[in-house]
């Protein structure tokens, strides 16, 4: 008797747990050939598993595994961890910070002033993804004076820029658009350069 045969018998004998897996084990003597033996033992283990768990528990275990996989996929779709290779949002976000992006809730609640969003910008021939802060929504008129930002002629309180001065041209956000600015006003490449962007370019909101 070969080593494979002996090993298979040993494994199956330990796993066998009822009449059917014992029956598979008893037939093992008839099986010839290494791969046939391995296959026979594998099938026997399957039967032993069935007998050990019973149909009800087997279903429950399977359901649990499926639920875990679905949950993992769902979470990975809804929440993603992103790496920020930009200084546009300094000092709120540092270069190379990792942030958690919620890709779903903004679609339900809509975007609000002050939200930090991940958006894909198409500026001429160039397309890039960046992180920025929503300053204006559809219909808002954005302007700057004395280094401060005004929305519909009302000065914004922007503690997150830590006193940095902002320069911008007057702009009115079109229907279905958003106007974004990075917190690092001196360096950020944002709507002051590429203008309002369609709200559909937003892929997620930072948690």
């Amino acid at each position: 008797m070969s080593r494979v045969h002996r090993a298979g018998r040993w494994v199956l004998a330990r796993a066998a747990h009822g009449p059917w897996s014992t029956a598979v084990l008893a037939e093992l003597d008839q099986v010839t050939g290494r791969w046939a033996t391995v296959r026979w033992v594998a099938g026997g283990l399957r039967i032993a598993w069935r007998e050990r768990l019973g149909v009800g528990r087997r279903r429950r275990v399977l359901r649990l595994v499926v639920a875990a996989v679905v949950a993992a996929v769902a979470v990975s779709q809804l929440l993603t961890v992103r790496f920020i290779p930009t200084s546009a949002m300094e000092p709120t976000l540092r270069v190379a910070d990792r942030v958690v992006v919620d890709r779903l809730s903004f679609r339900v609640t809509g975007l609000h002033h002050g939200d930090l969003v991940v958006l894909t910008v198409e500026d001429g021939t160039e397309t890039f993804t960046t992180v920025s802060r929503v300053v204006g929504l559809a219909g808002d008129r954005i302007s700057c004076a004395d280094g401060r930002v005004f929305r519909n002629s009302i000065q914004l309180d922007e503690p997150y820029v830590h006193g940095a001065e902002t320069l911008c041209l007057d702009a009115t956000v079109p229907e279905g658009g958003i106007y974004v600015m990075g917190d690092n006003r001196a360096l950020a490449r944002d709507s002051r350069y590429f203008g309002s962007q369609p709200a559909s370019s937003v892929s997620g909101r930072l948690l």
């Binding site: 598979v24 008893a26 037939e27 008839q30 099986v31 099938g43 039967i47």
Partner: protein, 107 residues
Amino acid sequence: MPRLPHSSPQTLRVFDALLAEPATWRYGYDLSRETGLASGSLYPILIRLAEADLLETRWEPAEVPGRPPRHLYRLTADGAALAHQRRREAAARASRPAPHPVPRTAS
């Protein structure tokens, strides 16, 4: 469409093997060889058939002391009837006429 119980191609192969000698008690390994089904496919079918009382089982006392007793299988009367029925249904499916059957004339 809900599937008929005990009508899968694998189960039909098991029926074929068991119907070859309906009165004889058969070993699992021989059934596996005749049907080409691995143990992991064959035994779940046997378990289902046995649970539905379509298959009877018994243990064969070991011929040689020290060898484990082997399990034997044979269709019950109900099992044989169902096996014949499933085989007929499968044959009918296989020879189902084309969408526009040629009308047959009495001869």
